[in-house]
Point group: C2
């Protein structure tokens, strides 16, 4: 068997970066620009229809930071590129011993957050912090995107279990596993992805495909054979040929399955019909599971019309966040620490303004415990009665106890945090369409700092 | 350093599957259903605005098939799940020695194809073929999606180089690397992803970020420092504060850069203005590069209005295929080979009909060499003058010579195949909006077989 890195991307290669990070790092090393710098990762705007976002992917981001290396072959590759022709040898020596040695603050996974709010801050020698840009964005982006989408889907299901089903159309094999993880954080009860079950302890759910039915000459035999092997856990797929006939065949077998799965057709009519058929013979606990091109809007509409569906499998729409397949995450330099002074940095181009300085998010709640507003402030500001949200998770390149747990515990904590936050959101934000935005302000000190800097650069 | 599989998904775990594949495999093993079966992977419909698709991801799919295994810990995990409580030990023994031993036919990467056309066919003992479903779909889906999107973007750029820039918002770190690979197949000239350069020999392109400018007190010093390190290859980012002032600062330095990069603002006006400024001092070869929220439509509009942009960096829209972030790939059982007969299989539910039998695609061209129509037929049919597109790529679990090349050669061949196919498409299909579809028919024998089967299942 070939070494893993010959098959798939090495999961901790320093080359998992945009090339400009490598050119800038070469510039910083060669110009002896060794200042510590802080970068913050945040989202500029909410994607369409979203009222909030859910932080995800931190555990994978920290895995990357702890393990990132450049192997000799990778360094040789870089040093022979025309792009690096004039770069001095000291840069390639720097890469040989490269370790990430910085400090990281972050929102714990599962935290609900809003545009402008940093969900991660890296403070490290500037070349190091810069080199981590793409991998951090990429790790945080995927799971934040999918956890935020899952929150919509599970909200629409209004307490009925939702199983993540989308590995096959997630963007690659890794994305399938991590989408399952993020969907669980965002309130799903389980996943079809067996590796996500193994790796993260997420409950897995497996029924049967049309191929099982089609491989048998007779649909009833297909059902019977499956019931033989899974007497207690069979969810039988009934739409391969014709739903009513399939349900009648199951009833004729006289063996009660755990449930049936509708995967196409008229879910409203078929669920009402099947429920009545089963109830009539006393099979009131046979579960009706629906899957197939489901979205949060379709789930909400089905339940609104009284569909008798007990749980939902949601695939492509969830695992690709199909209605809005990206979040505009960015990673911006906010401060440079020189020997004798600290300088906040910002960008003033009209469309893409950023705020300087190391920040903290302060969240206020009303007397009923509901979130009432956030203030984005400098990290040393104090707001009594508000909860600071960013937590220190890594010191000098090693993760701190607060995030050093086994993968299953980490993901369960994140899910609990999401559910707790979700319960404290103002009700209007739970709508599937855009509501009056949650109140987020920048502190007066932060606005002042921004204005001073802008004055310098005019 | 922890073993890689503790950090990221093991790239060849058999658990990288939807759980129903495992339950069905358990059913086939326990019921001694050992027939060989054929599954075909195809796309039901074109995504919105698409007129054709580009096959990608085969090399990664074959890597998976050659290397897939179940380790003892994974098998123990499965055997202790409540879902598998009643499954006999022979299934877990089967997994211990599991190897994929099947045959595979596929469209070579870079081939242009249409809905209904199989891009991959697996023939293997039914449990084996079933277990590979999700990983094959996932591997083929991502790169087919992105190569197809890249084809639109590079078509819009009308010969001007396009660089893939989207790793940070691709769906995870693996997706970033593989999106770079797929975008190259779909006609991009390069990528910003350094690992994709290292792993697949794709040209990489690196400029500088706003952080480089912001880290310096003075924009002109930032430009000068970068030119010191990259005297021949500097593409200077000019929109951190104000584009015109930045261009004037570069000119005042008196050191001609390779190019400038516009990343926000009015690309049309700024490119015309900068082009004139540079031309006036004889810097006619300074390249103007544009990036920032670009799409194929925006590129086409900019060039239509006469923007003086020499090359484009396209990120999020390309690497997530944002306007249409999935393709409806499916993997359907088409035939089961019993000891004494072969039976075609199909699904007749109204929305989701499939055709039985092992198929081949036959492509016809007109006298000018342009593609004129395809026939999807049974594999033993013959159509004189037409080119059969599916190629045998794997026999008994080992890849054949036709696809056994180094990763860089493979990706370059795929790109050449795409460019050749693209040059033979009817002109109407090159539009960015939906055109009259390309003619694809099922053969009369295939329609007959389908009708016979439907009759059996009525």
């Amino acid at each position: 068997m070939p070494p893993l890195h010959e098959i798939y991307p090495c999961p901790c290669s320093g080359l998992l970066a945009d090339a400009y990070e490598l050119t800038m790092a070469a510039g910083y090393i060669q110009k002896e620009f060794a200042s510590r710098a802080s970068f913050e990762l945040f989202v500029r705007n909410l994607p369409p229809h979203r009222n909030y976002l859910v932080a995800g992917g931190l555990d994978q981001a920290l895995d990357f930071l702890e393990n990132v290396r450049f192997c000799q072959e990778e360094i040789s590759y870089l040093s022979t590129l025309p792009l690096f022709r004039h770069v001095h040898a000291e840069f390639f020596d720097y890469l040989k011993d490269f370790r990430f040695t910085g400090d990281v603050w972050a929102l714990p996974e599962g935290t609900i957050f809003f545009p402008g709010e940093p969900l991660l801050r890296v403070t490290a020698p500037i070349a190091e912090a810069q080199l981590m840009e793409t991998s951090l964005l990429s790790a945080i982006h995927l799971q934040t995107l999918i956890a935020s989408k899952a929150a919509r889907v599970t909200t629409a299901a209004a307490g009925r279990p939702v199983i993540e089903f989308g590995s096959r159309r997630a963007h690659g094999i890794e994305a399938g596993v991590l989408a399952a993880r993020a969907a669980f954080i965002g309130g799903c009860e389980g996943t079809s992805n067996a590796y996500a079950g193994y790796r993260f302890g997420i409950p897995i759910c497996g029924t049967q495909a049309h191929s099982w039915i089609m491989a048998h000459e007779d649909e009833a035999v297909a059902f019977g054979n499956f019931l033989d092997v899974f007497p207690e856990q069979s969810t039988l797929l009934v739409d391969t040929y014709e739903v009513h006939r399939a349900v009648d065949r199951i009833i004729a077998l006289g063996r009660k399955p755990h449930g049936i799965r509708l995967d196409s057709g008229d879910f409203l009519a078929d669920s009402l019909w099947a429920r009545e058929r089963f109830d009539n013979i006393g099979w009131t606990d046979v579960q009706i599971f629906a899957s197939g091109d489901l979205t949060e809007e379709r789930i909400q509409a089905l339940l609104g019309k009284g569909a008798r569906i007990d749980s939902f499998g949601v695939g492509t729409a969830l695992s690709t966040s199909a209605d809005s397949p990206f979040v505009g995450v960015i990673y911006k330099l906010v401060e440079v620490q020189f020997a004798d002074h600290v300088r906040g940095t910002a960008k003033f181009s009209e469309e893409k303004k950023t705020y300087p300085g190391r920040k903290q998010i302060f969240r206020f709640s009303d007397e009923g415990g509901k979130f009432s507003g956030d203030v984005i402030a400098l990290e040393d500001e104090v707001f009594s009665g508000a909860e600071p949200l960013l937590v220190k998770v890594m010191r000098e390149g090693r993760r701190l106890e607060v995030v050093d747990q086994d993968p299953a515990t980490t993901v369960r904590s994140a899910r609990s945090r999401f559910l707790a936050d979700h319960g404290r959101l103002p009700a209007r934000l739970l709508a599937l369409s855009a509501a009056t935005p949650f109140q987020v302000h920048y502190s007066a000190r932060l606005e002042d700092l921004c204005d001073q800097l802008r004055f310098i650069h005019v």
